[in-house]
Symmetry: C2
Subunit: 355 residues, 2 copies
């Protein structure tokens, strides 16, 4: 094995092994009609020359043996876990994985998916993409598509998402059971794609919030902000000064939660005044905060693996379905009970930090 790739073609291998190109091709693809003897001879030639099939050439007729993952915003820290799950599903298969990142934010952006289509991948996994359902259906007409994090039930593509309705209920009940009766929902500005499209996690969480508050007989209250921690902090600084009594906040994702906690800290307050529950349990972001963030944990790794397994299925054995993953509260220290004496709580938090 001299090196990977190079200019060694199937022709060279065929010549070296004394067989035809088609024979080599059959060996590579593990296709029918190859004697063990020939297979061994060809394999030896492949190894000796360091031959690797060119994906471009393969894709011209057959499959590219490549699966693509669209990453609309590489800053979301749960992507790594999803990718890990996807890679895990790929081991011992002939498939490769490529990722297509999209730079722009806050707009519908099909470029990443387009790039994957241009590369003739055999399947696409779209993570929390900001493209329209029509567009996704179009793409799914041509190749297996799995979306992660959207709730639309399509005939054309698979969907895996966390059970956001359940997660929202869990977050609200967690606050309710601690004694909170004023529970606010922090979510994204209504004009962002994540809120204008009907099947996004944030939309579902908002709807579930409304439904659950109605069920509990509480009145709803929503804070909106742009999707960054800074924006959420700014929104918190506008909102918090009017707050006198302890309040519970269910934040639609961890960065928002952090922004609000940051705003509280800037005003010299903490969970004694604002109890915040986040969403996603993003590594580092949630656990290593001051205070550590109580949040909703999702099985990101499993979502990635499931999505990859589905996207590898093609043809007849493929049936589209929707899979809602379970989720659960990850209790940490960013929530307090409104009935406990504030100074007690304050002191115990400091002790916890010093320990």
């Amino acid at each position: 094995m001299t090196r990977a790739g190079g200019s060694i073609t199937i022709e060279d291998v065929a010549r070296a092994a004394g067989v035809s190109r088609a024979a080599v091709s059959k060996v590579i693809r593990d296709a029918y009609g190859v004697s063990p003897a020939m297979k061994a001879r060809v394999q030896a030639a492949i190894d000796q020359l360091g031959y690797r099939p060119r994906i471009s050439a393969r894709a011209m007729r057959g499959a590219s043996y490549t699966l693509g993952v669209e990453i609309p915003n590489i800053h979301n820290y749960f992507f790594p876990k999803i990718i890990d799950g996807a890679i895990e599903a790929l081991t011992d298969t002939p498939y490769q994985l490529i990722l297509a990142p999209t730079g722009a934010e806050d707009v519908e952006s099909p470029e990443a998916i387009d790039a994957l289509v241009d590369h003739q991948v055999d399947g696409i996994i779209s993570i929390g993409s900001r493209v329209s359902l029509d567009y996704l259906e179009d793409v799914a007409d041509r190749l297996p598509l799995v979306t992660i994090g959207r709730h639309y039930r399509s005939e054309g593509f698979d969907t895996v998402a966390s059970d956001d309705r359940l997660g929202a209920r869990l977050a609200i009940r967690h606050l309710y059971e601690l004694g909170h009766r004023r529970i606010v929902h922090a979510t994204l500005s209504a004009s962002l794609p994540a809120m204008t499209m009907p099947d996004t996690p944030h939309r579902i969480r908002l709807e579930a919030y409304r439904a659950e508050m109605a069920r509990l007989g509480l009145s709803e209250e929503v804070i909106e902000s742009d999707p960054t921690e800074e924006a959420a902090q700014a929104a918190g600084l506008r909102w918090l000064p009017g707050i006198a009594e302890p309040v519970g906040v269910f934040a639609a994702h961890d960065e928002l939660a952090l922004g609000l906690l940051g705003a509280a800290a800037e005003l010299g307050r903490g969970p004694d005044l604002v109890s915040v529950v986040g969403y996603d349990d993003q590594e580092f972001i949630a656990a290593e905060q001051d205070p550590p963030l109580t949040t909703i944990g999702l099985p990101h790794y499993e979502m990635g693996r499931w999505a990859m397994e589905e996207s590898m299925k093609s043809g007849a054995n493929r049936s589209t379905d929707t899979y809602l993953m379970p989720c659960s509260v990850v209790p940490r220290a960013s929530v307090g009970s409104p009935s406990v004496d504030i100074n007690d709580r304050r002191r115990s938090t400091l002790l916890h930090q010093a320990a």
Copy 2:
């Protein structure tokens, strides 16, 4: 524009515009020999049909117009910034970007680079890869290669890295100027690829640590651990109990720093006993810690952009060079002065947290 990709070929466009395939190809590539009139007619047909060239077919003869980035470990949180810089450099060029992740850790793993070569990318950016220099030279023989984070000066490929010698000196001097005379270096286990290869950032930082300590007339002391925060914490828990006097630690990267701080916290101590300087200034990891981590900041975004610009150059106008990026100390609260009264320092830290 009906949809992206599909089964519309250059043939369809040529028919629609009433010209030859070659004419359409020229228009797409903006090549010589096209009248404005024909260009307009062809462009109209392209837009109307929603035609997109297939990368596989292009790659068979010409270029794939695709650049690849190898990501050996997607968990490193400075990748996003590098990728952002790379994407920025790509706007308004005909090039696309794909990423190839590698799953395995702690071993030499060329598979991500191989995957990119298989895809016939026009250039490769290798971020902190764990492959041998021989392998990189082989790859560079065939296409433009830019490595990020390695210090080897090659004839065949470009290199951009942070000035790790400078960074190490800055970290050590920062501790020295605060009064520290016992300065320990926390780095990776000597058996890991990051330490066995001669040109990795961690090797350079270690060497620079030794040189600087010698220059200052101080004796060196090194703690090794595996590359995770947990491993560093465990190492810290073995080491710290023997420490009585304040000590400075220069950690080779932020996770290691965090692990040591975590170990200190577990023993009820903080910067009063162990002053830790990290390296990389990774978003969230460094700034939002308790205590916030003093670390060495690197221009990740610029590194990504520079690398991408270099990798787009090919042919005659290409000359390989090595670019060392400046870096600087980002002072936060994870370091203390050994001469200041411990309780004073302790109290002010707590006040800072409560504020």
